[in-house]
């Protein structure tokens, strides 16, 4: 039994947004609150105004969509997945709590639209249209919510700043205490000693040490001395260095080593004394001594 109303003269509207005065006419309400004076629901931006009223149909501040300034008004609101059609009953303007009449809409989209049509029959086109639009939008976002909850949800874990700072500091201290480079080097040398690398690296001192240990079972001191001398030279040679070479080297090697140390030039030692581990090209220089001799004789 709803009759079409216009912003009629007999209607009172109590506006929760203003403070003292009671207005009778929605026109008056709009002329003052909506347009000119302060409305507590209105938010202005540079280009547009918005209406923060919870019963607003569109969210904009317009003459036709102001819930205060229209005696005939309806909205769709959604609560916990259920949609309701709210209609303003202007006879109850004195009782704001009972002002809005609520109709629950059907879960089925089409049936709900029919319900809206049924309830808002003879109402202005604008309100009907906007209600349906709003209802469509609401159902769409409800569908989206349901879809998203089935997918993976990103969980945000709150971090405690104190704990984070503490852990960072402890990590730094642990890093210092760890002495990583030393630890790694030690481990690698251990593995070398344990012979995990097999035959790849040949360090004669290592081999000599082993031989030493073996010989010490029934050894002479002389053997030990000879081997110590060879150790002193710090040969990084292959194990195949024969004993003849070694003996020959002993006398000359010391001088040559000293010479080498003194002059870091390309003048190489005799072949076989100091070999380097890396790829090393040996160059032999021949020194011509004849001209000097000639000079001396003449």
């Amino acid at each position: 039994m709803r009759m079409a109303r216009h912003g009629g003269a007999e209607l009172k509207a109590v506006n929760p947004g203003s403070w003292s005065v009671k207005y009778k006419d929605p026109e008056v309400i709009w002329d003052t609150l909506g347009n000119k004076q302060f409305c507590s629901f209105k938010i202005r931006t540079k280009t547009q105004g918005f209406c923060r009223n919870e019963y607003s149909l569109t969210g904009l501040c317009n003459r036709s969509s102001c819930p205060l300034a229209n005696s005939q008004y309806a909205t769709i609101k959604e609560e916990k997945g259920q949609c309701f059609l709210y209609m303003k009953v202007i006879e109850r303007a004195a009782f704001p709590r009972r002002l809005w009449e609520r109709v629950r809409l059907h879960k089925n989209y089409e049936k709900a639209l029919e319900q809206i049509d049924e309830n808002l029959i003879y109402w202005p086109r604008f309100i009907r249209h906007k209600c349906k639009q709003r209802f469509t939008k609401i159902t769409q976002y409800l569908i989206r919510i349901r879809k998203l909850t089935l997918k993976r949800q990103r969980k945000l874990v709150p971090l405690s700043k104190k704990v984070e700072r503490r852990e960072k500091r402890r990590e730094e201290k642990a890093l210092i205490a760890a002495q990583l480079d030393n630890a790694i080097e030690k481990e690698l040398l251990e593995r070398l000693k344990q012979d995990t690398y097999g035959d790849i690296y040949n360090f004669p001192i290592h081999a000599f040490d082993k031989a030493l240990e073996q010989q010490e079972a029934g050894s002479d001191s002389s053997d030990a001395e000879e081997q110590e001398d060879e150790d002193d030279e710090e040969d990084m040679d292959k194990l195949d260095a024969s004993s003849d070479e070694d003996e020959g080297e002993k006398s000359s090697s010391e001088e040559e080593e000293k010479a080498l140390d003194a002059k870091h030039k390309g003048k190489t030692p005799l072949k076989g004394t100091l070999r380097r581990k890396r790829a090393y090209v040996e160059i032999e220089y021949e020194q011509e001594t004849e001209p000097v001799a000639k000079a001396k004789t003449t």
């Binding site: 790694i184 080097e185 481990e187 690698l188 581990k277």
Partner: protein, 348 residues
């Protein structure tokens, strides 16, 4: 009494043990002892019993007394050190060995789950756990590396570099897929491990390591990530050789299982020609990952050169099955309020 206090305050610090003796006596109104202690001033550490510097109400005076006391302490300490040093020199060889300084690692609270190398139970457990098939050479590792949704550049690069470090690993872009769906697919394609690098605000901050056919899942917090180009004095890019592994300081049962998880990432036979080594070093529950190339310069000397990314991990939780945050059975969870209270208690 007031005048005494004032002059006492205005005198220089170095002068007065006398006043130190006198003032508190004034304050404590020890009239009997006053004259006597005035006489014995230099020897008087004779404050009336129960007196502490913190009871002086005047802040300036209190500060003065405190600094004076501190200086004294320092002097005494220095004197004690010198004396000790002299004694040590005098004794020469017979001197007792130097006391070992206390470190957190020395003072660590003994963990009853520390693994004894000869422990049979542990050996039995390890022979029958999920990694047994790896350690028996039945399976060889095949790793899938991925990230959380929409990774940023840093994370992607870290994944690429990780895949060069870990042989036989593949990087796949995560396109919003659920881990629960990925895991069965991985299993069907014969992957043995899954690594997910979690990202927050464009930096990687978490690592989930899951051993695939229903193996344990470890969740780590990752910090201090350095990509290759951020490492100073680094060597050239790693080659395809299989690296060696070093696992340091994994002592407890928990540490053991985590260590085995890491070990099962790498193929069994390291190629020593490659001279590359990946290190997982545990120190105080922080696992430092480094990747180096080494060269033996001599018997006793080895040079190492860092390649490869580096990061530190801290174990947050160890879960029995594959990744399942809701219904999973957690073997170990890090609870900061209970576990972080002692500075000398570590779990790995």
């Amino acid at each position: 009494a007031n005048t005494m206090e004032k002059t006492g305050g205005s005198r220089k610090k170095g002068l007065k043990r006398k006043s130190a003796a006198e003032e508190p006596q004034e304050a404590a109104v020890g009239e009997d002892g006053a004259t006597e202690s005035g006489g014995e001033a230099p020897k008087a550490s004779a404050f009336p019993p129960g007196f502490s510097i913190s009871e002086i109400k005047n802040k300036q005076r209190r500060h003065l007394m405190f600094t004076r006391w501190k200086q004294q302490q320092r002097k005494e300490k220095l004197a004690a050190k010198k004396k000790l040093k002299k004694e040590r020199e005098a004794l020469g060889d017979k001197a007792p060995p130097k006391p070992i300084p206390k470190t957190i690692d020395n003072q660590r609270v003994y963990d009853e789950t520390t693994v004894d190398p000869n422990d049979e139970e542990v050996a039995y457990d390890e022979a029958t756990d999920e990694f047994a098939s790896y350690f028996n050479r039945q399976t060889s590792p095949k790793i899938l590396i991925t990230t959380s949704d929409r990774p940023h550049g840093r994370t992607v690069r870290l994944c690429e570099q990780l895949s060069t470090v870990i042989p036989n690993s593949h990087v796949y872009y995560r396109r919003g897929l659920a881990l629960k769906r990925i895991i069965p697919q991985c299993i069907s394609r014969d992957f043995t491990d899954l690594i997910v690098i979690n990202e927050d605000r464009k930096t990687p901050n978490g690592l989930i390591l899951s051993h695939l056919p229903n193996g344990p899942t470890a969740h780590f917090k990752m910090s201090s990530v350095r990509l290759r180009k951020e490492i100073k004095r680094r060597g050239k890019d790693p080659t395809e050789h299989v690296p060696e592994i070093i696992l340091n300081n994994f002592t407890t049962r928990l540490g053991h299982s985590v260590g085995r998880m890491f070990a099962s990432l790498f193929p069994h036979n390291p190629q020593f020609i490659g001279r590359q080594v990946a290190t997982f070093h545990n120190q105080r529950d922080y696992i430092f990952f480094r990747f180096h190339r080494y060269i033996f310069k001599s018997e006793k000397k080895v040079g190492i050169q860092e390649l490869g990314p580096r990061f530190t991990l801290k174990l947050r939780s160890l879960q029995k099955g594959t990744f399942d945050s809701k219904y999973g059975e957690y073997e170990w969870v890090h609870k900061p309020r209970e576990m972080d209270t002692s500075r000398r208690k570590f779990h790995l």
